[in-house]
Symmetry: C4
Subunit: 249 residues, 4 copies
């Protein structure tokens, strides 16, 4: 106990946290779109091979990004930020700056990928992604992702990078939409004509489906994990939360 | 020692544990069947590429699901539940509700996958999986899985998600049956005509082979791990067991 | 310190350790040969895809097997046993029973794979693996494997399953011989005509190259890790060694 | 606290650290080039499949190498060494010997791969890798790698092997240059005509781009991680730094 008293807790500032959200979202989109372009170019028309490469890059990239930026802030996803606010882990007044940083970062990431692969920087996707099956997929994908994050960040916080990386690896394949599961990613992927794109007109309904998944995840997590214990001492003292535990509920 | 005294142990209720078993089984089957459909659609007839994608999704998905639901209950498999009861880790009176939740969840998961991929919800598999080699494969696959779970849950509980995910990744390839190794999964996979299916008439003998694997695993684990030590302090205080240690043997 | 005094150390018996070596070697060979047969059958003649599947199964399988059997004994490889004896971690009198168990287990594993895939149980490989480049590959592969094991088992014992699984995943691809790196595996792979086989006449020189790699690894590890510290408290109290620390050097 | 007092800290000597850098760089290049040759030979012209195998081998190999050599020294990369010196973690006087060891080791690794695959030992690459998109890719790749290392080695040192392995796995696909991100690797890959090569004339501008990425990473890491806490007790006492903490800033 005295150990925690001697430790001076420095919390990253709101600006640092917003910068971390923007940087992480940019790198995430650079990974998703960049590896999509590379995979499409090399796969010789076999879409399964292209998606395998895209999956491997995105899953592994998420592990690295969350390990790297979680000491500051590592949502990279508006529905994660909203869940954190809804469960009192993040003050509501921080939500707009998080969402803004995520969306701006995501677009910058798409443009970075385009620059790296020497294609037109500004593009608009023509890839059709619509229909009930796609929307139901987004609902399931988002519900699953947020259930994973709600549980693992409560019970076993140090495993979050691996849990999220593994979940997205599975979700690229088990949903018909390849699991966007992230409104900022959805908006930014409308800005690429590559493999990973989505028509702008299809984006809003994807986001609605993701928000329904968010609502369901909050309700299920609340009831399912009500009686579980939070470990009193986690072996890895990691600041995945941007502010000291004392001001959290 | 005083540390453990101040920790108030809240055990998830039987209803919460059953819900966790049903939800996890549903997500597991959605992953197995959904990624099977996606892989078959994209692989252009190369079955090895399709099975690679199916393997990656299932292995990674299991890691995420067990990390997420183990604080409540994460068997997702009747033979795991039966082993837990046989070794006095779970009261026998809880077994029926676990098995029921797993089977119902598994079917819901198959139907969820069908909905996501816009195919008929209710199907019956016509995929032939029979013969001595297939049954011997199921025996080996189930024996191996339960040996992994028996040892790792005793000696190194926090590694269970990775051990199970890695084992199933290997088992999809090293057994001729692609390792069902789970009676609830076997029943539910009879309800899909996709890549992952099994004819209903072939399911019962698969389940018998799995039960023989269970018996063998209990005997081998009992003798092999009799003299090994259980670590006195695990670094990650995780409630993979649904009830407090005090009422366990 | 008082914590270690209250812990009663039960050491697995020599019989239990030999059984663990035999069982682990059998499962390892079932994985290597079984996934090789499956991969060759499904890959439609693309050897890279077949080797990718074989690699994934072997790497993941090793993680699961070592996690499972390390509380008893998990060498599964005569050169690991010899290194352990040479560095005084294992009494020399235990070496013959370890080596015998590994070789017998390995053959049983090959035959198990043949049974699972309904091919002739007893086979002799006709696959040519000879020449200086192959032998140099085996030398490099074995040297690397034993350097990994020497260092990680000294400095970070709980990571051994992941280190070995990752090393073999790499070594299947970066050596021309696909890294047998194990005399018991080499002998047993002479007993299969599948993808993973080796002509019996080529096996002895493979084993000689592996023993040279062993000698080199012992010398390099001795000088490179002389001044490094062994952690005083490992977070995971795991008995990867088959006998209590008190009787070790 | 008394526990740390009884621990006698032995620091690896400068010679041991240089040997570790040379050995690790050699094995890294043997993995990159060797798996590239193997993949190209087996992939039947499908470059995506070849790069998947190359990625898997490199990512997994990095995990194994860093786990193995980090108790002595495991930069294997001049820009990592320069960042360590710039942030006062390594004395500047050690930099030349580190860089020399890394470059010599890298060339030895390429030649080792050539020997294992029975091709001419001394080669000069003719593979064109030039243009703004390639250089921008190297800048992004190096910036990302060093940001990962800066953060994870500060906040969660024991996860460095996994963070670096996962990052490189992603970076092989999301950058147009397949992420050399390492000046020693860049020089040595000019000495192979295989899949992994780069024309000697293209190497210098790659290295300049990497150095710009280094500068950017130092600035961003300094501002982003200024207020984050370093964990007071890491569960795994590992000597990734080659000298005792007392002489570090």
């Amino acid at each position: 106990m005295s150990e925690t008293q001697v430790e001076v807790v420095h919390a990253p500032s709101r600006l640092q946290r917003a910068a971390s959200e923007a940087l992480g979202s940019a790198l995430l989109l650079a990974i998703v779109v960049g590896s999509g372009i590379m995979a499409e170019r090399l796969a010789g028309g076999n879409v399964a091979i292209a998606l395998l490469a895209n999956t491997l890059a995105t899953g592994a990239g998420l592990v690295a990004l969350i390990l790297t930026l979680s000491p500051v802030s590592s949502h990279f996803n508006p529905v994660v930020t909203l869940m954190d606010a809804a469960t009192h882990s993040l003050p509501w007044r921080d939500v707009p700056i998080y969402l803004g940083a995520q969306v701006i970062g995501a677009f910058v990431g798409v443009w970075t990928a385009h620059l790296m692969f020497a294609v037109d920087v500004f593009q608009i996707s023509t890839k059709v992604r619509t229909g009930g099956a796609q929307l139901f997929s987004e609902f399931v994908a988002t519900f699953g992702l947020l259930l994973v994050i709600a549980s693992v960040s409560k019970h076993r916080r140090e495993a979050i990078p691996y849990a999220v990386g593994c979940y997205i690896t599975a979700a690229y394949w088990f949903t018909a939409s390849t699991s966007f599961a992230n409104p900022a990613v959805t908006l930014a992927r409308a800005a690429t004509e590559s493999f990973a794109g989505i028509r702008p007109i299809d984006a809003p309904e994807f986001i609605v489906a993701q928000l329904v998944g968010l609502a369901m995840a909050i309700v299920v997590a609340k009831h399912l994990f009500k009686a579980t214990n939070v470990p009193t001492n986690t072996p890895i003292t990691q600041h995945t939360s941007p502010h000291p535990p004392s001001i959290r509920q």
